[in-house]
Symmetry: C2
Subunit: 347 residues, 2 copies
């Protein structure tokens, strides 16, 4: 079977591709069970090649099953070209992020909403019944009143345009699934931490920055308050959830509401940094400082997202979860910090 | 100021135009108070002219303030042409109905979703801050579990494509309002009864048919079960609510969720018909019978809508409500049945 990952050259796309290739199998709509992956297409915008090429891991670059394609999902015909196998699964990660969408809502509509619609139409036409995993966001929830915790029954009242688009996409996959056109399912992702490399335009990047950069010994300044609190999950947990949603979760069991809120921890920027400090102390590493220089728009957008989310339905469905800020930092460090220390100590 | 009514040649559009012209004033974004209406544009698809021309009331046809324009909202440039005054209000009723949208979801998306988006973009560009009233539907709610009543905090999980499109439009007006581009507000309409004239493709037409046709002495057959139950409101209440939303409700008071669920009564087809029987008995009129010959798709769609809805937030905002099935039938009869009886008894 084939696997298509849109936004495939982004950090999460590459992590997902690596994890699924290690696993080797993904659920096949033709054989109704997990079968060997013959091809993974990583689709992204042309700009992602120059931005991401350096970060495409060697094991992906050298794997003959991996193909890279670029284009604009909003363009006529592109989606149809991508659905080139009637035995495939799709992980649809491609999206304009929150800051860019707020700045250019028209382009956001075209990429985030019309892009998904084109893809679903292509699946409906050429690979009906294929599993289609859409990654939504807790930005769909909007601000949740103090003392209440959002769960899968919470009405979606997004506080930014990005959340509006993601909420539309959730409604869209419900309708395509209800009509039996696509075996669509969604994961409502919290802030994903700890992202390595350079920050993207997501305002939620601060939750990664305050771990990543100080652990490199750098002092950082962030545009939002230190007590800003959002639901977060490690990329390891997210990738594990994507794999479970593709292989193990029965779409019919999801009912009319096909998007599960991913289990998450409600953590402030300050708490993420504290976990990094504690990690640094345990390993005798230097640690940079974090300063907040609040920007009004950034602060308003971040405050307009829900700060807590209850992923009970996802837990029942068997999806994994993180333990603590410390476990999240440790998992990141195992991938990106400790290997470098070993390299430098052996060199 | 000018008033634009899309779907203006439909039953509700004509009723709204008549009611607002009788009132004479509508809120002006320029003067920040209700001022005289200089022009009402009734916009509709070309087919509505032939279908609706006969039903355009004489007082509208002869009123020099009334202009009729036709076109396709999905077509490039049409929306911009319609927003031809920086001092205007918009009542956006145009929509493909439930049966048509289920049958042709692509056209539904273009008309229901992209049509509203084009209109909002035109308002944003040429009349920023104008009041824009969108009519949503209780079809956005989907089936509500037995024993629970949907209200404005209920998550939207529509059970048909029409409800999906209306839910997207609700999210859309929230975003345009949040950004201050349009003073958008929405009314989530229940089934509107009693519609005179020929039925349209809405599956909810049965709630009107079982009153209207038997009161003409006709026996009718409907495609859904007699115990099918939906939230309903009289067109008189809906028109009163539209006028209140345009003139009296402060958009800021609506908060992040700009759509109010209209107050409604949960009535079955059988209860509507019983009220017609009772009215006929009181006035010594003949009354036709109602037979159900259930069609599977129609029944499934109607069962997939919420059967009850709580309009408490709208009541707080001062919107009107109906008393009973009997009061709804009496109000319809006062407009369409009793005048004819008088005419025939005097002739």
């Amino acid at each position: 079977m084939s696997l298509l990952i849109t936004g495939g050259l982004g950090f999460l796309g590459l992590q997902t591709a690596s994890a699924l290739l290690r696993r080797g199998v993904v659920w096949s709509p033709l054989f109704k069970q997990p079968v060997s992956i013959k091809k993974i297409t990583l689709f992204d915008i042309p700009a992602a090649i120059s931005a991401g090429a350096a970060s495409v891991p060697k094991e992906l670059r050298e794997d003959p099953r991996v193909a890279i394609k670029t284009g604009d999902l909003g363009e006529e015909g592109i989606a149809a070209e991508l659905i080139d196998d009637d035995d495939l699964s799709i992980v649809h990660l491609a999206s304009m992020v929150s800051g860019d969408t707020e700045a250019d809502p028209d382009r956001g509509w075209r990429v985030n909403v019309e892009g998904q619609r084109a893809l679903l139409e292509a699946v409906k036409a050429s690979a009906p019944g294929a599993r289609f995993l859409f990654t939504s966001s807790t930005a769909t929830l909007g601000p949740v009143p103090e003392g209440r915790i959002a769960d899968d029954s919470t009405k979606l009242l997004p506080g930014n345009t990005y959340g509006f688009h993601k909420a539309v996409c959730e409604l869209m996959i419900n309708d395509y699934a209800r009509r039996g056109w696509v075996d669509a399912r969604g994961l409502r992702l919290p802030v994903i931490v700890v992202r390595p490399g350079a920050p993207n335009a997501a305002l939620t990047g601060a939750w990664s920055t305050v771990v990543r950069d100080p652990l490199k010994g750098l002092d950082v300044t962030i545009p939002i308050p230190l007590d800003a609190r959002l639901p977060v999950a490690s990329y390891q947990t997210v990738v594990g959830s994507v794999a479970a949603m593709l292989n193990e979760v029965d779409g019919r069991a999801l009912g009319a509401d096909r998007t599960l809120m991913l289990p998450s921890l409600s953590l402030s920027v300050a708490e993420m940094h504290a976990a990094a400090q504690s990690f640094a102390a345990r390993h005798g590493l230097p640690i940079g400082t974090v300063t907040s220089r609040e920007q009004e728009v950034a602060t308003r957008i971040v405050r307009g997202m829900g700060s807590r989310a209850d992923g009970a339905r996802a837990v029942s469905a068997g999806l994994p979860r993180d333990e603590s800020a410390d476990s999240i930092v440790a998992a990141y460090a195992a991938d990106y910090v400790l290997p470098k220390l070993q390299t430098s100590s052996t060199s």
